[in-house]
């Protein structure tokens, strides 16, 4: 019997090593796998590469990872000037790769969909294109972009079953579905569990084939 539920945070984090590339779902406060992030802090893993929409918000577990010096490189779409990420970068203690948000989503999707490279006009006319390979396609300058894969993805879902099928609510999905596809080991925390078959086939957002582990973290148990 396939059972992707893991009984503990330790089991959820098993095998995540130093230097891992970790894809971190969520946008602003929504869809962030807070408990798993706190679990990642507790593993002590360091030299991590974190891929997320932004540098960690004040008081977040991602900020804590950064402030503990566990992150070697942050790939994201913006960093607030007053944030820890910005300070670490300015002190030379953090590598930063800032990329457009659509390009981030598409590079993750390319990793999940087996696209070895693609072109996009996004950013081609900007500073971000400096030193990069470009090509004019139909009269439009384009940048060549490569897939962005993760060793691990940390995700948040609303409901999940033992096959790893995930359902999100409202704007909770954001980066979670593409990150699930783009990682070797996709780990989801879920507010609620469901029996196999309880999640309707046309309601499942992320098919379980993209998810390797599920941890049940009931609502309200973890903030932070």
């Amino acid at each position: 019997m396939i059972d992707k539920f893991v009984p503990s945070m330790a089991a959820a984090m098993e095998g995540i090593g130093d230097s891992a590339t970790v894809l971190l779902g969520g946008f602003a406060d929504v869809g962030i796998p807070r408990a798993l992030l706190a679990g990642l802090v507790d593993t002590g893993a360091h030299d991590l590469t974190i891929v997320a929409v932004a540098g960690g918000r004040e008081g977040s577990a991602n900020e804590r990872l950064l402030s503990l010096g566990r992150v070697r490189k942050l790939i994201c779409t913006f960093v607030r000037p007053a944030s820890i990420a910005a300070r670490l970068f300015q002190r030379g203690e953090l590598e930063l790769e800032i990329i457009p948000q659509g390009t981030l989503a598409e590079r993750l999707r390319a990793a999940g969909a087996g696209i070895p490279a693609f072109y996009t006009p996004t950013g081609a006319d900007t500073l971000l294109a400096e030193g990069r390979e470009t090509r004019e396609i139909n009269g439009r300058l384009c940048l060549l972009e490569y897939p962005l894969r993760g060793d691990v993805a940390l995700l948040e879902a609303w409901r999940a079953d033992r096959w790893g099928n995930l359902v999100y609510r409202e704007a909770q999905q954001n980066f979670n579905p593409v990150m699930a596809m783009a990682a070797d080991l996709a780990i989801a925390q879920t507010y609620h569990t469901a029996e196999l078959g309880e999640l309707e086939p046309n309601v499942i957002d992320t098919p379980g084939v993209f998810v390797q582990r599920v941890l049940h973290v009931p609502e309200g148990e973890i903030h932070g």
């Binding site: 929504v30 960093v79 948000q101 659509g102 999707r109 006009p121 006319d125 500073l127 971000l128 409202e170």
Partner: protein, 217 residues
């Protein structure tokens, strides 16, 4: 630069002015800042679909405090609602909408716009230590129409409608129209064309506050 004899529009009035020009049926993305205010000035019975990068199609107005849904925010992290007929998508599909030419309109704020339609809205200098790119570049290259809403000049009175942007570009040759606190200007092959001005403002006075050459409609 000469003092203006008239009172420029405030942020709400600028948003209201843009809202007037958005017809029913359009799919519209609103950037952070003044653009976000525009939705409040589109009457509900004029069915305009608002898209939010974080995966919302058919975004509705802010909920009353007691009805806030913590899972339902827009790209500016504000609590919003979903209209009947709206739906949720993931980030890659959401940017497929933005980059794939499905937005009828995107309205962004900017530091500068050039008379060839270049927009600079993400960094004040190429040397800024940390960059805030977000989704603006994707929106700017992908939308069917890009409108910019911004003050006509900086607080110090320096022009923002320029011959050539001095700030790092977001995208080249993409802006179709600019709404400022003084005027509405189309970007045409010949440059900025004044479509509308505040009552009492002369073309010459507007030109005096503009770096790029203005054209009469």
């Amino acid at each position: 630069m000469a003092e203006l004899a008239i009172k420029p529009l405030g942020r709400e009035a600028m948003a209201e002015r843009v809202a007037r020009d958005i017809p029913e049926g359009w799919l519209v993305n609103l950037g952070i800042g003044i653009p976000t205010l525009i939705a409040d000035f589109v009457p509900e019975d004029r069915e305009v679909l608002f898209h939010s990068e974080n995966g919302i199609i058919g975004m509705g107005k802010a909920p009353p405090k007691e009805q806030i849904n913590p899972f339902l925010i827009n790209a500016s992290s504000q609590h919003v609602t979903l209209r009947q007929g709206g739906s949720y998508i993931h980030h890659a599909d959401s940017f497929a909408i933005a980059r794939g030419g499905h937005l009828d309109l995107c309205v962004l704020g900017a530091f500068e716009v050039s008379d060839s339609g270049d927009i600079a809205n993400w960094a004040r200098s190429a040397d800024e230590p940390v960059k805030q790119v977000g989704g603006a570049m994707d929106l700017a290259i992908g939308t069917k129409r890009l409108w910019v809403v911004m003050e006509h000049t900086t607080k110090e009175g320096a022009p923002r409608l320029v011959q050539r942007c001095s700030y790092p570009l977001t995208a080249k040759r993409v802006v179709k129209r600019v709404y400022t606190n003084l005027a509405v200007l189309d970007v045409e092959p010949r440059g900025f064309v004044v479509r509308d001005m505040l009552p009492g403002l002369s073309f010459e006075a507007l030109q005096a506050h503009t770096d790029a050459r203005l054209h009469q409609a």
